[in-house]
Amino acid sequence: MTTKTVVSMVLVVLLLPMTAAAQKKGSIELRSISEVEVATTNAKGEKEVKRVDAAASKVIPGDVVIFTTQYANVDKKPAENVVIINPVSEHVVYVENSAEGPGMKIEFSVDQGKRYAAPDKLVKTDAKGVSRRAAAREYTHIRWTLGKPLAPGGKGSVSFRARVK
């Protein structure tokens, strides 16, 4: 046995338990945040819009809440086919054109997540079989699809706004 081989073997032995531990606790971490924008005046007397945790703020019907999902790959391997789905709560209405997600394909559903499509291809069909383009207020789910693998340590966030009914 040469010295080189011994070093490689030691490395393999060291790596194995690390990989196992990371997989056990989950390889992608998600965090959901709901916030409202509050207009304040700062020390200089300038008007500012701050984002405040919705649970620590007053929220009444008509207010707009920003729902953000932060994601991160905490594993050592790239994650493929990363898809994030946000149901739109029955008590809120999606604000048109508010979904954001850098590098993501954004699609919507009007049938509780059975089918997803871009807004211009979403249709609603009434009882008589007449189809029309679905309105933003009818969206039940939003789906973000990451177009490329999420590298180890990679992270990002997606968000949308919704008005409390």
């Binding site: 649970a55 493929e80 086919n81 149901p87």
Partner: protein, 343 residues
């Protein structure tokens, strides 16, 4: 074919009208206070081409109590009143645009004229009553509630401001009042405690009280109250005269010696009373009054200026004069006739 097309078109229009009538208005007041709204995210992904268990994360918050009374008046313009009568009504609607059941205390306050004029007098015995018996309009003894009890979200109720109009107010005098509705806690019969807004950013414990009301003529924005104004205007009485002429002598031609009968019909419109109405009509030139032909409402009047209502060439030279006294819109039409001969 033409007819068929028309029928179809009519049916189509009828359908459109039906659809417009049956369309329900959107629920304005919204999600009830205390409801928890959750935002959930689920992520799916593959490692080494094998699907991994989905990961979820949830965020949530509680909907706070929105306090948003809306007061409007259903009077499109001034409420016309005559000087003197008691218990004249201004009519308002109070709507609960909040997301929880509320009580409302009510008050009448002096206000600027919402219809563009100038408020220049006050009514007497000003009171506020809630429509209680469901019959439109104020009914004394039936509409007796003085505050609004348990108005559910999105519901509205009618409220009256009642005032007595002082006798002696002049025509076009204006008295404006605002109805002020202030939110009190609902939940039990009787007027609850005054609803107080939660101070600071958030109590974080349970439901906060958030004032979302607009400013009215008698209150500010976000003060848990709202108001709207309406106004009384003293209306005069308009006297209308309609005069007609008929040739009643043989031949029915207006020639020399012919007799013409004039008829003057007097009516009064408006809320007020026309006091001491006197009609004076000059006898036309080149005619001569026919003695003993002056009548009022088919009753003969003497030509002399005496105790009856009319005279000729007495009160005013060369004219017929009839004193009708006080008239209002409820008075019957007063009909005066007299005859003249063409010279």
């Amino acid at each position: 074919m033409k007819r068929t097309t028309r029928y179809i078109l009519t049916a189509f229009i009828a359908l459109v009208i039906l659809a417009a009538i049956t369309e329900r208005p959107a629920r304005a007041a919204g999600t009830p206070a205390g409801v928890t709204i959750s935002g959930q995210a689920t992520a799916t992904y593959d490692y080494d081409a094998s699907p991994q268990p989905p990961i979820t994360a949830v965020t949530s918050f509680v909907v706070d109590r929105k306090i948003d009374p809306i007061v409007t008046t259903t009077n499109n313009s001034y409420v016309s009143v005559a000087p003197g009568p008691a218990s004249q009504a201004l009519t308002f609607r109070v709507t609960n645009n909040g997301n929880a059941t509320q009580d409302y205390s009510l008050a009448a306050a002096n206000a600027a004229d919402p219809f563009g004029g100038a408020d220049n007098f006050d009514g007497a015995n000003v009171r506020v009553f809630v429509e209680t018996n469901g019959t439109p309009g104020y009914q004394a003894g039936a509409d007796t509630a003085t505050f609004i009890d348990e108005l559910v979200s999105d519901a509205a109720t009618t409220v009256y401001i009642m005032a007595d109009i002082p006798a002696g107010q002049a025509t076009d005098d204006i008295a404006a009042y605002a109805l002020l509705a202030t939110a009190h806690d609902g939940g039990a019969a009787g007027l609850g405690a005054l609803t107080a807004a939660t101070a600071g950013a958030n109590s974080q414990l349970g439901v906060d009280m958030v004032f979302a009301d607009a400013a009215g003529p008698a209150d500010g924005a976000r003060d848990g109250a709202h108001s709207a104004a309406s106004a009384y205007r003293v209306a005069g009485a308009a006297v209308t005269l309609l005069k007609s002429a008929v040739v009643i002598s043989a031949g029915n031609q207006p020639v020399t010696g012919a007799t013409i009968r004039y008829t003057i019909a007097v009516t009064v419109s408006g809320a007020g009373t026309a006091a001491g109405v006197v009609i004076s009509d000059p006898i036309p030139v080149n005619t001569t009054f026919v003695a003993g032909t002056l009548t009022l409402n088919n009753g003969l009047l003497t030509d002399a200026a005496d105790t009856d209502a009319g005279d000729v060439n007495g009160t005013t030279a060369g004219a017929v004069t009839v004193r009708l006294g006080d008239l209002n819109s409820a008075s019957p039409v007063q009909t005066i006739t007299f005859e003249v001969n063409i010279n």
